[in-house]
């Protein structure tokens, strides 16, 4: 049986994504760099503040890696958690790894330290973009059960590459938040099929928000990441104008769509209703059918 990415802890993901026994942790649990804020609120902290960072090799090449633990505070970004990510990107500027790989699983800002988290998210974003400016590719791997939302959803889309499994989700606001704001008719958060076809890996793949879709398998993520090493995407005016055109075009083409099924139909998927039950490996064909926005 495969090693489920979604079921693995952040530590297990790192250990099995990188070359065996190559991972060296920075500010590991023994250093106890923990949140100073949670205890004040009567909440136990975690010895790594919910993010494992360090370096190791991937297919023999030096990479930096960060993995968020979705079970701890939903992977929420707090002061220390965010600073560890910032530090990793800054250090990458010095050591020039073949990539910085982020295994993102987060609801976004950690509410218990909301202000610090909000600022930290923007600091991570700037540090990430600094690394990209130096030609260091940043690769996001999204396949945890809690998805990648809020501030981490923004950070993810600042990376060079996004790889998702079809269990992974990538979006801004969680369905519960939207439902409580505009009602169940707007977004039924208990309809998981709806939630997944709105935010899940398959939709993100078809619409072009993730470059690769893989099975829920650590090894599949590993192979996808290996294929992306050293591939830096420039953040030039030209590139951003192309992105701008793509997003404008998306708005024009799909702005009236009420459901992902409508989007997929417009993309040229012959029978959108069967997409949910396809395996990730079967999606490649559909993606090539989906004219327009291929990345």
């Amino acid at each position: 049986m495969n090693r489920s990415f979604a079921e693995s802890t952040a530590r297990e993901r790192v250990a099995h994504l990188l070359d065996a026994k190559s991972f060296i942790e920075i500010l590991g649990p023994g250093e106890r760099v923990v949140s100073p804020h949670l205890a004040l609120l009567g909440v136990p902290s975690s010895f790594d503040d919910g993010v494992v960072i360090g370096h190791g090799t991937l297919n023999g090449q030096l990479v930096f890696i960060a993995a968020q633990e979705g079970e701890f505070m939903g992977g929420g970004v707090g002061e220390v958690h965010g600073a560890k990510l910032v530090g990793l990107f800054k250090r990458a500027l010095r050591d020039k790894p073949a990539a910085v790989i982020v295994l993102a699983e987060s609801g976004g800002v950690r509410l218990h330290e909301a202000n610090a988290g909000l600022i930290a998210v923007s600091e991570v974003m700037r540090a990430l973009l600094d690394a990209r400016a130096q030609g260091i590719p940043v690769i996001m791997l999204i396949g945890g059960a809690n998805g990648c939302f809020g501030g981490m959803g923004l950070i993810a889309r600042c990376a060079d590459h996004v790889v998702m499994s079809d269990l992974g989700r990538l979006a801004m606001s969680g369905p519960e938040v939207i439902e409580s704001s505009h009602g169940v008719e707007e977004y039924d958060s208990r309809d998981r099929a709806l939630v997944w076809r709105t935010t899940g890996g398959k939709h993100r793949y078809l619409i072009g928000d993730c470059d690769q879709l893989v099975e829920d398998d650590v090894d599949a993520f590993r192979h996808a990441a290996i294929g992306l090493l050293g591939q830096s995407m420039s953040l030039s005016l030209l590139a951003l104008e192309a992105e701008h055109d793509l997003l404008s075009d998306r708005l024009t083409r799909f702005g009236e769509c009420r459901d992902a099924l409508d989007v997929w139909r417009l993309l040229g998927v012959p029978d959108p209703s069967i997409v949910a039950d396809l395996e990730a490996s079967e999606m490649f064909v559909l993606k090539s059918l989906a004219s327009g926005e291929s990345v």
């Binding site: 049986m1 489920s4 079921e7 059960a145 079809d166 269990l167 208990r190 309809d191 998981r192 099929a193 709806l194 939630v195 997944w196 899940g200 398959k202 949910a276 039950d277």
Partner: protein
């Protein structure tokens, strides 16, 4: 008329009067047996009389929800003091009836989601409870002293003659309709569709008086779907212990599983762990069980010969259709479930029941009753009780009986089998609620709600094994109350009950095999990982079914 004074057919005469009132009230609105949905209130007002005993079909899963709502709309000055008899109180409307003054007395089995409100209304004197039954008991009373005058049931489809197709979720309908129709009662049915030709006839049309096409399909709950993603390592460990320590030990071939993640874990370990122990063909061939999605991998691996069901499960329709060797299906291919029949099957034809509970006391009595809720137990007490009327022998039944009787004399010396009744619980539930207690909450609840007996789900003298993450206590081997108490304490872990054990006595019981730890039966706890599960996600279940299982959207995270 043979009896000019009407002395021997008053019920039939009453029935005739009621139907005549309905015909008059509905006028052209009545076409054959078909009543327009907007005339429902008119119909109910015409046929009901104050004090009537009414069965409103409220099942474990499907609900005659349209008729329930219509009933609450009646004018209590015309229709009042109804005596409701129904197996499950699931909808708010079921209690609104009492609040509105339409009904006053209640006999039922299970109240799940309405249990807290029910307790409040009983305390406020708004409801008079006759009794809280097991399913089989309540159905039995339909034919003795709780026969409905009017039944409001639901079916998938009807034809012009009033023949009904109840679909996969037949559940209680045959028992209710039979009791009503053959005792001069009136049967009113809500259907999801009117069709020219039914796929099959589940209820003959001449047992049915009025048919209403409901504006919306009836409610139905996927109650038996357990997402394998939520099964914990501890539950995997306990499932391993159950399989190796009990199923294999007794060679259990015919069984029923309660609902829960513990039992789902067992189902998912059959094609993996149990297979590795060489148990295929030796255990778990015949089931009285709803079509649990978690059973799919075991079915696909060829473990299961037959499954008879109380009700169906949403999303399993196609799978069942394609596996008619296993499930009970009609000639049309769809499942025919029947709660009364399956309860009887589970009680008399199964060698084992295994299920979870909330509290177990030092005598092994167990209950899911908690203060402030009047919930009832549905079918668990029928499944989790020795069938004392049973006479046919099987190896599992004989072995359990022999263990219970070994070395005993007098009346206990007669060779006789016993059903295996296993309670599987973690020593602490969530929020650190201990599963083992000195005294069941049921006592306090009985006092609170003025019940004649505490609501015990499974009596201690029926329980044969208690299985926790700490071990298995075989109560069949206990001699005397003290041994029994220490056997229970000996698997109660770090709960206060467990900590108060007599350590020496517990070690003695362990030496005698009354208590078995995981290591005593050759299980290494570190092997208990989720990777043993034949399916770890809902998606895996769909894959295992070859795409035939179509889970409800709330379970689809892909």
């Amino acid at each position: 008329m043979n009896a000019p004074d009407g002395r021997w057919n008053q019920q039939a005469q009453s029935r005739t009067r009621r139907v005549a009132r309905a015909v008059a009230a509905l006028g052209h609105g009545l076409e054959g047996k078909h009543v327009a949905s907007e005339d429902t209130t008119k119909l109910l007002t015409a046929v009901l009389e104050p004090g009537d005993r009414v069965c409103l079909e409220g099942n474990n899963q499907k609900q005659a929800d349209f008729l329930a709502r219509a009933l609450t709309q009646l004018d209590p000055s015309q229709v009042h003091d109804l005596h409701m008899v129904q197996s499950v109180l699931a909808l708010p409307e079921h209690l609104d009836l009492f609040e509105n003054g339409i009904a006053s007395k209640l006999d039922f089995s299970f109240s799940g989601p309405q249990s807290a409100r029910l307790a409040k209304m009983v305390a406020a004197g708004q409801i008079q409870i006759g009794a809280i039954h097991t399913y089989l008991e309540l159905f039995a009373r339909y034919f003795v002293d709780l026969t409905p005058r009017v039944s409001l049931v639901c079916a998938q489809s009807a034809d012009a003659q009033g023949n009904l197709y109840t679909g996969a979720n037949t559940e209680d309908t045959p028992a209710i309709v039979e009791a009503t129709a053959f005792k001069s009662g009136i049967v009113i049915v809500q259907v999801n569709e009117m069709v020219e030709h039914l796929p099959r006839v589940d209820i003959p049309g001449d047992w049915v008086d009025f048919v209403i096409l409901a504006p919306k399909p009836n409610l139905i709950e996927p109650l038996f779907t357990r997402d394998p993603a939520q099964i914990s390592e501890i539950q995997v460990l306990m499932a391993m212990m159950a399989i190796k320590g009990i199923y294999a030990e007794y060679g259990v071939q015919r069984l029923n599983h309660g609902i829960g993640f513990d039992t789902a874990a067992i189902e998912l370990l059959l094609p993996t762990y149990a297979e590795s122990l060489g148990l295929k063909g030796k255990i778990c061939k015949h089931w009285a069980l709803n079509p649990h999605p978690a059973l799919i991998p075991a079915i696909e691996a060829g473990w299961v010969e037959s499954v008879h069901s109380f009700g169906s499960e949403l999303g399993m329709e196609n799978y069942i259709k394609q596996r008619s060797d296993v499930f009970f299906t009609g000639a049309d291919g769809s499942m025919r479930s029947n709660r009364a029949m399956c309860q009887a099957a589970g009680h008399y034809a199964c060698d084992m029941f295994i299920g979870s509970t909330l509290q177990i006391d030092l005598n092994g009595h167990s209950s899911t009753a908690t203060q402030g809720r009047i919930a009832g137990f549905g079918g668990a007490p029928n499944m989790g009780a020795d069938a004392r009327g049973r006479r046919h022998a099987t190896p599992a039944w004989l072995k359990a009986g022999a263990q219970a009787r070994e070395g005993r004399s007098g009346v206990h010396a007669m060779p006789r089998g016993q059903k295996l009744v296993v309670q599987i619980v973690e020593t602490f539930r969530e929020h650190m609620q201990p599963a083992f207690v000195e005294k069941l909450d049921a006592w306090a609840l009985a006092e609170q709600a003025k019940m004649e007996i505490p609501p015990v789900m499974i009596y201690g003298d029926d329980v044969t094994h208690i299985l926790t993450e700490e071990g298995i206590a075989n109560l069949l081997l206990c001699r005397g109350d003290e041994e029994r108490e220490q056997a229970i304490r000996g698997v109660a872990g770090f709960t206060p009950v467990g900590l108060a054990r007599d350590k020496r006595m517990v070690e003695n019981l362990r030496d005698r095999g009354v208590i078995q730890r995981a290591e005593d039966i050759g299980i290494d706890k570190r092997d208990a990982t989720r990777s043993l599960l034949a399916a770890r996600t809902m998606r895996d279940l769909v894959r295992a079914s070859g795409g035939l299982y179509n889970p409800p959207k709330r379970f689809r995270n892909w």
